[in-house]
Amino acid sequence: MTATTRTALQIRIEAFTFHGENTPVLSGATVSVAPGSLTAVLGGSGSGKSTLGKLMAGWLWAGHAGEFRGSLELGDTLLEFRGAPDDPRINPAEWSRRVAFVPQDAAAMLSSVRATVAEELAFGLENRATPRDDMLRAVERTAARTGLSDLLDRDPATLSGGELRRLAMGCAVITEPDILILDEPLASLDAAGAAQVEDLIRSLRGAGTGVVLLSQAADGLAAEATHWIVLDGGRTVRGTGLDGGTVTAAGTPAQLAGSAELQRAGVIGIRGPGVVGPGDVSPAATGPGVVGPSVVGPSSIRPSAIRPSAIRPSAIRPSAIRTSVVGPNPAAGARSPGPVPVPAPGPGPGSLELRGVGFGYGADARRRGVPAQARVLRDVDLAVNPGEIIAVTGPNGAGKSTLLRHFNGLLRPSEGDVRVCGRSIAGVPVGTVAASIGLLFQHPRDQLFERTVLREAAFGLRQLFGKAEAEGKARAALAAVGLSGTEAAHPADLSASRQRLLALATVLAREPAVLALDEPTVGLDQHGLAALQSAVVRAAATGTAVVMVTHDLAYARMNAHRVLELKDGQLSRI
């Protein structure tokens, strides 16, 4: 097919409601995609971007997945849906051959039953009874296009994140679709991986494919778009935590950059999440400069103005802190936490201390592939004082998460000692150390298990604070991360961004002496970043020591008192 015969797609959504829910997850949205164009649908977490993409691509079908009122038009086929039993039924295989979708979680695209990359690419062709010779040619062509030619014999389960993303895109484009819809194609890719994906998108557009980008960041790729559509989940929470998305603005990037709609929707600006300093929280929540005209221009942030070094340390004793971590009305202080007091390293013990910690995975039976000499940590010393915010950065695979897991004993050092509040945790069970150390993982879903948000935040608090105080503490923690009003919702029904905040709230509610965060910014939209920011700053202000691990150096510099780099198993200040 050539660009001239490529067809266009238009979706008009009056309302789409999942079965069993009262409010539509999407309403009042129209998206048109022309051949060779790049349309960016921008919106915060939970705005319904993925639902929109799946509806366009026939991954969600009217009647089967939910009630759809609206229309879909592909080329000269117009399908009208009225939410009635005799609505047309989309043939997902045929529709997706022409409108392909790549989900945010690239692994979900894979069949999970093919042994090599080549067979995985061919899976969709096999199901359509493509003759074998055509299949071989198509696999070769697609592999060359997606840069997978050298990986064709690899097991898909062994691919890196960037390779997996390209394989998922290859699986989508092997049928030569007219339209390609990409859900957060750059999420959790490093710079090199992102560049390869961006190149692939450009080459597809050049060949006439209409591309739709679903993203919560108005990043460099979105800046190349011909058209922007802003999808706003709305801030209203109807007791369930479920938001309904609707289109609030549409136009060219130049028209929309810096618009109020973009900010309200919670879209992250071009410079990424590193926008606020510890002492500069309140304006950032909704303020200008987050997504400004600078989306396509140079950065105008002046880091020196908000460097934590400008903040005067003051001595706060840990014992005094523990009693006043969450005041009687923490929500009142949320708006303006004020400057962060960093206590002087006084005579008392630090909140967290690592002395000469060394660790290697060699002894671990489950990691037999790793050579025994692979030392992840070597003679690591670290001391964190109450109220201090420390960021640890480093390249992928440097052992940042491994370091974090030593703080509460999930991993035990092969040399050296870890001390929390002055006491060694050697031999102390993880569940007991957890009273002093709160650790937030990258995957919030592993950490959440209760039926409602409130029960989730209140889990285990009775043992710590007694029955009378437990619920109050839980509500205060939810308020601190901006989740008030969602208490009755099921945690799994929250948006990805809010699930992370809920996981943070469960940690904050326990009022730990040390807060350890693993890649806290990943998956958060702008609203989520602001909530994280204020929660972390306020925790630090009340004397909690914070250690965050992040790959984002700009964010680290902006938000921490000290930035350390983990490289070759050792920590150094940068």
Binding site: T17, F18, H19, G20, E21, N22, G63, H64, A65, E67, L74, T77, L79, G83, A84, P85, P88, R89, I90, N91, E94, W95, R98, R451, H490, P491, A492, D493
Partner: protein, 273 residues
């Protein structure tokens, strides 16, 4: 352009009739095998005739399970097919976790029952039979029990359709009844194919009945009537617990749950098509 249509129509009736016939044939094969084995059970199992019964039990039950799979599998929606591996892994993993609690039960059907509750009796039966066949890859001794596993999945689905999962205390009762039927149907396999049960606890119960002079089949059937109903009651209760812990959006994506109002307190907001 002679391209396939972008829309599809509902499947025809002829295919449905042939599928129903296969289902009936499968169920009939299992029932006939059971009756035949009980009627002709050898009075003297010591001199080799057990081998005849073993072949009949294996052949009849496996044929029944395969017929059921052939009837159901091709028409299961993909959203149900992808749950079968999940059920299988849950059967094994949750069974192992429960084993860690030290309870004297095998608890090896939680996944099957959960899928039956979410996707209905046909899916439950296919899940039970298929998970036995696939798991025999790791442990060949579960293969002959495919028919019993299919029965458990089917009955769990029927219980869900009948609304027994709407009240929490009905679920173990349904499990208890299922356990009786499944235990009785599986007893000939244990008796004739394996000559006993795997495990010393159940073996001791069988020994006790044998000491009283029962035939092997009778002894194993009685043993099954003692342990299986309790086991399945626990399994059904756990499956109900899990089904209620799942968020609404997850459970309501299953047409079976919506159509038969399987779970209490989760009525659809609008009448469903």
């Amino acid at each position: 352009m002679s391209q396939p249509a972008l829309t599809i129509t509902a499947p025809g009736q002829a295919a449905g009739r042939r599928r129903r016939l296969l289902e009936i044939a499968g169920a009939a094969a299992i029932a006939a095998t059971y009756i035949f084995l009980v009627l002709t059970q050898p009075a003297d199992i010591a001199n080799g005739p057990a081998s005849f019964s073993a072949l009949v039990a294996l052949g009849g039950f496996l044929l029944g399970a395969v017929l059921l799979i052939v009837a159901v599998l091709p028409v299961l929606p993909t959203s149900t097919v992808v749950l079968i591996p999940v059920a299988l892994v849950l059967n094994v993993v949750l069974g192992q976790l429960m084993g860690g609690t030290g309870l004297p039960f095998y608890i090896d059907a939680i996944g099957t029952v959960l899928i039956a509750v979410l996707a209905g009796p046909a899916a439950g039966a296919a899940t039970g039979a298929l998970s036995s066949i696939v798991w025999s890859f790791f442990n060949p001794t579960v293969l002959p029990f495919a028919a019993g596993a299919a029965l458990i999945g089917f009955l769990a689905g029927m219980a869900a359709r009948g609304g027994l999962f709407r009240r929490f205390y009905f679920a173990p009762i349904a499990g208890f009844v299922t356990g009786i039927l499944a235990g009785v149907v599986s007893a000939p396999i244990a008796a004739f194919v394996f000559g006993g049960t795997s495990g010393l606890g159940t073996g001791a119960i069988v020994s006790a009945f044998r000491a009283m002079g029962d035939t092997l089949l009778a002894a194993i059937t009685k043993q099954a009537l003692i342990s299986d109903p309790m086991d399945k009651a626990i399994v059904f209760a756990i499956a109900a617990l899990l089904a209620y812990a799942l968020p609404r959006r997850t459970t309501f994506q299953f047409p079976f749950v919506r159509r038969y109002r399987v779970l209490a307190g989760k009525a659809p907001a609008a009448p469903d098509a």
